[in-house]
């Protein structure tokens, strides 16, 4: 069942078309990655889907409800972890969540229990009465995530949720996110620069470049599309890449190498480079 349908979204800032005719659907329980280089239009897409930016044209439906005609009903279904952290530094963790509880009409008698439960879930319960300005980056990110979950959204937007976190904390964030997706069947749209993680977590990825989705499919499908093996040849300072269906054909070509060469399996990053001509972390 479709939770979100976005069709033909267009958004310009002055002369710059940030998002140029983007359409996709998200089904219940989906975990979808939206990948693209800096400035590709990922955040702008999420902003239109959450009411932070107004599309020039296009349509958005949540559960069949037109976002434009009933934004309030639609927004109840949405949870957001924005790229720019917007937890309130002046409030405590508890107060941040309490404000969310009021805004999302969680009944008064359930608020305290729900907030404490979710603080516990994220390992933040002992810091609940500390002001957020005293928090580390990882704690802030976790708080942002549970704040987005407090009202049990049907769809969660995660815009670079783990950027700037050290690998260990990043991994624990991913475990948390995966748990949410699987246990609560919350649909997730994720943008990230950690392409290996998108490859591991997302059932489907969409690659966006210059405001357009240029390809979409499961990570395996996308990889198959360019071949299974890469032959990397180091030519001067650059790396020349050739793609092959089988290891044998790749090995055959290895013989012709004059410089130092390497064969490895295709990754999503290769798909990305092949289609956009750019690395995701340029």
């Amino acid at each position: 069942m479709e939770i979100l349908t976005a069709s033909k979204l267009i958004k310009s800032y002055g002369k710059k078309t940030a998002v140029n005719d983007v359409s996709f659907t998200i089904n219940v329980g989906d975990f979808i990655g939206l990948l693209g280089p800096n400035g590709a239009g990922k955040t702008t897409t999420i902003k239109m889907l959450t009411g932070l930016a107004k599309e020039d044209s296009g349509k958005i439906f949540y559960n069949g409800i037109n976002f434009k005609s009933d934004p309030i009903e639609c927004k109840r279904l949405i949870g957001i972890v924005p790229q720019n952290s917007n937890v309130d530094r002046d409030l405590t963790a508890y107060e941040n969540l309490y404000m969310q509880a009021i805004l999302y009409s969680i009944p008064v008698n359930e608020r305290k229990k729900k907030i404490n439960e979710i603080l516990d879930f994220a390992g933040l319960i002992e810091y609940k009465d500390k002001q957020v300005k005293t928090f580390s980056g990882g704690m802030k990110r976790r708080l942002t995530l549970i704040r987005a979950l407090l009202h049990q959204p049907k769809i969660l937007y995660l815009d670079e949720p783990t950027v700037g976190l050290d690998p260990q904390i990043r991994r624990s964030m991913w475990e948390l996110i995966l748990k949410i997706n699987q246990q609560k069947s919350t649909s997730i749209l994720l943008t990230t620069h950690y392409i290996e993680e998108a490859e591991r977590l997302c059932g489907k990825v969409m690659i966006i470049n210059n405001g357009k989705i240029i390809i979409e499919g499961s990570p395996d499908e996308l990889k198959k599309g360019i071949g299974h093996f890469v032959l990397e040849e180091f030519v001067d300072d650059a790396i020349k890449e050739d793609f092959f269906e089988t290891k044998e054909t790749a090995l055959n070509h290895l013989k012709d190498c004059v410089n130092s060469c390497k064969i490895r399996e295709v990754s999503l990053e290769d798909v990305f480079i092949k289609l956009t001509g750019k690395r995701i972390n340029a």
């Binding site: 932070l52 309130d88 002046d90 009021i102 805004l103």
Partner: protein, 245 residues
């Protein structure tokens, strides 16, 4: 039903609670200086319309300080919009824009009332005798509503902090000096006198003064003030509806 309104009030007052003491002290300084400089300076020697200058000045200070405080919501909204992105929380929450305006307006009005209260205390300390007409209360409510909704409108329209400073310099500060807060407007040159009648403070400072010094309240002025409040409420609502995060 009022989840947006209440959520915003919860946020604003949770933040305010922590800085209340500092803010109250800070907003007492400038009226105190005005009272010392102009009150003692001219004191009882200057007489305006049958009252001592300091008695004339206190209602003007109340109008000025409550204007400043309720308009300062613009500054606060700017910081939450551009630096901390708190405003995005309201824009993405299941909340109608009118409740965002209402929540911020009530907070801005509260700050205005508080600063008026501070000046009452200072006036008492300085021994200034005020005759409080109950019409003062609707007057101060409408007055702070005008400037807090103007503040919200401006905050939604500016693109950065610099724009905000420009608005303060070119609109707010001249208004504070020219609209009958420190001296009666009939002493202004004709053209300026004509101009200040386009500014809301001209009406509210007159009405506030009348309600505190035993003068006759001009109900037409109160009506005009309500007109300004309605217009700015609508502009702030339109501005919140079109603002992007």
């Amino acid at each position: 039903m009022l989840n947006g309104f209440l959520g915003i009030l919860y946020r604003e007052f949770s933040v305010y609670r922590r800085k209340a003491a500092k803010q109250i002290l800070a907003s007492s300084i400038s009226p105190l200086l005005y009272l010392i400089a102009f009150g003692y300076g001219f004191g009882n020697k200057v007489d305006i319309g049958g009252m001592s200058y300091i008695t004339f000045l206190v209602p003007g200070l109340i109008a000025m300080a409550s204007l400043n405080q309720s308009f300062s919501i613009a500054q606060e909204l700017n910081i939450t919009r551009f630096y901390f992105h708190i405003f995005d929380i309201y824009l993405t929450a299941p909340v109608p824009p009118v409740q965002i305006v209402m929540g911020e307006a009530v907070y801005g009005m509260f700050k205005g009332f508080l600063s008026a209260g501070i000046i009452f205390v200072l006036a008492f300390i300085f021994g200034v005798k005020l005759i409080i007409n109950p019409m003062f209360f609707p007057a101060i409510i409408i007055h702070t509503l005008i400037f807090t909704t103007l503040g919200i409108t401006v905050a939604m329209l500016v693109r950065d902090h610099g724009d905000q400073a420009t608005v303060n310099n070119f609109i707010i500060t001249p208004m504070i000096f020219l609209c009958g807060t420190f001296f009666p407007i009939d002493r202004l040159p004709v053209i300026m006198k004509w101009l200040v009648y386009f500014l809301p403070l001209t009406y509210s400072s007159k009405v506030i003064r009348a309600t505190l010094t035993g003068g006759a309240v001009d109900y037409n002025y109160l009506l005009i003030m309500s007109g300004f409040a309605i217009v700015f409420f609508i502009t702030s609502l339109l501005a919140v509806k079109r603002v992007e995060g």
